[in-house]
Symmetry: C2
Subunit: 387 residues, 2 copies
């Protein structure tokens, strides 16, 4: 499982003391080749963390040999000193592994606005380099956890017995465009042979349909990073379509695991907006619901309060007529034509999975946004995070 499943990848996870709990907090992923093609997607937040600024430079060359990740500190909003810390980290990894610093991407997660304890981190990197192995994927996945209750990993195998290739992956957090807390970090590995431009396009398509449609709490981190490393060790060159499909499957698998483990959540909510004039309209209306605290608290309370669905999409500029919109919650059409539909008492919300279908009757496009409820535990966890 995880990033060491494809051929030609080593990984490790060690406890460097960045987390006061003593849990693993430094992960290292090494691509042993032969190729070192890479692609990435980063946060669009205008306060990108130091590791994001650094890794953008690394990935600009479409190559990457190693990724070092730490939990226990985001190294965001730390100024030139924080950037120097990231640079030092990459240089130290490079020294340990006989690479150049520009071959090493860095990702961090944790509290914003605190310098990293570099002595601990550097020693951790050395320990991780020594621990690198083909079986290290599981420990690496554990080392990037913050408030995650379980590690998130995936493996996708494709091709026949003579032309097999695979994708492995690990993730922490809860959503690219809107993580629950701090940050979403994802490392994907593949032993497929891939052209750099094809890999970048495939990754963007895969993330757009998965991580970017998870909107757990509407907040956008300074550190979000998705990196894919491709080494061609399988000797197989999938088509762009095949590569995109497999990356999307890996990304969707991880995205659903993130959603299921979002901080304090008790519900996984899929909001599908149908018959929209455009996909953008569907996404806008879906996001408005996903970010509406009144709706999210109602769902936490097992209350099929469809009026809050309408009130949310009523704030958007999506094309629809107010007297045309239907809302179906867990199979019951509680709102028809913008007015009272079937009895809300028929809606069973006791399970974890909730589907909300909004029919705009304004076109033929549709999109789904995944989110969580707003629970007492969410407030508790996030109010107690840094203190």
């Amino acid at each position: 499982m995880t990033v060491t499943a494809p051929k030609g990848f080593n990984a490790a996870g060690v406890a460097a003391g960045l987390k006061s709990s003593g849990d693993p907090d430094v992960a290292l992923v090494l691509n042993t080749g032969p190729d070192d093609v890479a692609a990435a997607v980063f946060t669009t937040n205008r306060f990108p963390a130091a590791p994001v600024i650094w890794s953008r430079q690394v990935l600009a060359g479409q190559r990457c040999r190693a990724v070092v990740l730490n939990s226990g500190g985001a190294n965001a909003c730390t100024g030139p000193e924080g950037f120097a810390d990231t640079h030092t980290t990459a240089e130290h990894v490079a020294e340990e592994l006989g690479l150049g610093a520009i071959d090493v991407a860095v990702a961090s997660t944790g509290l914003i606005g605190m310098r990293l304890p570099m002595d601990l981190l550097t020693a951790g990197v050395t320990a991780a380099a020594q621990a690198l192995s083909e079986d290290g994927g599981a420990e690496a996945a554990r080392a990037i956890m913050t408030t995650d209750s379980v590690p998130k990993t995936t493996i996708q195998q494709r091709g026949g017995p003579d032309a097999g290739w695979s994708i492995g992956g690990m993730a922490k957090g809860a959503g690219m465009l809107a993580p629950s807390l701090a940050t979403m970090l994802v490392v994907l590995t593949t032993d497929a042979t891939a052209d750099p431009d094809v890999l970048q396009r495939a990754l963007q398509t895969a993330t757009a349909a998965s991580f970017e449609r998870v909107d757990s709490d509407g907040c956008l981190s300074t550190n979000d990073t998705v990196i894919v490393l491709a080494n061609g060790a399988s000797g197989v060159t999938p088509t762009e379509e095949q590569l995109t499909e497999a990356l999307a499957a890996a990304a969707t698998d991880l995205a659903m695991q993130l959603l299921a483990d979002a901080e304090g959540s008790t519900k996984d909510i899929a909001i599908t907006v149908r018959n929209a004039a455009t996909v953008d309209d569907a996404l806008t209306a879906g996001r408005a619901c996903a970010r509406n605290n009144l709706l999210k608290t109602a769902l936490f309370g097992n209350d099929p309060n469809w009026g809050r669905v309408l009130a949310a999409i009523g704030t958007t500029d999506a094309a629809f007529e107010a007297d045309q919109v239907d809302v179906t919650i867990n199979g019951v059409t509680v709102c028809r034509g913008g007015s009272i539909g079937d009895p809300r008492e028929g809606v069973d919300l006791t399970g974890r999975a909730i589907t909300i279908d909004v029919d705009l009757k304004a076109g033929i496009e549709e999109a789904t946004i995944w989110t969580n409820d707003l629970s007492i535990a969410y407030v508790h966890e996030n109010s107690a995070y840094s203190t």
Copy 2:
């Protein structure tokens, strides 16, 4: 105090049985003249409730004699039948008071998507009409409460002993553009003489600087309504400036009361964005903070987590350079130049009032948005609302 403070207004609040608690739930405000000039601002939600659709028609003529308000049901998303209910209510008020239905504005608050029990409401209107008195303002303010813990009222007196005029007002809810729950309803009365166009402009200016800058939870109701009635009973005609100033004072007084009583809140947070390129930039950045659940939960936990302030404004298109922004929380500049500032331990967040000052260093404009924290009680109240 309240709407009956100015000359020539009667009011009443009665219990009609719309609320299961037996508390007052129908309010009536009557302007006894001589003038019946009126102005209003309504929700921009694209699913306006039936009473909003009706009252827009009434106010289109810039005249209004009476306002009937009910809690215990929003009459929103109730289709043509719900609109007929509102029309019937206005007609019944008109009959009781010897007016035309078009002289009667209607406002409702409560759960969306439920028809009102018209037999109870009609009987309540009759009782309220019989109870109308010059002392009825306090009872009217009580009758429009939903989750409010106290009634909100204001009085503004202007002019000298021989040229006195005044404004009275009552409100429920927590914010025009972004009420905490269900709805903000406001009725303002004045015995000043006012030209209808002047009154409308003055009201819009007053609400833009008060109710529209309160953003308790980012949700926009289907029922928000602010109405002002002007009867000229004082014989005084203030200038447009004087009228605007007094209306703004009344609106700000009510807005701060709404904020202080927002559902489950433990903090009143004033977010001031300074040195912005434009007022719109300042408002955009301020609202991004006011709607950031991670920041709001941190403040609930007395945690001066300034990284979440940057992460929030980092999602906007406001003009700024990331390495220029300062953040000051309760007087301590915890972030300087987008990086670590003075120690966060110096910030005392134990009181209810919190000020967050964001200095964008991109211009000379500024604006303040008021919001609340995101508390466990907020989640509890809103998850248990309709069930």
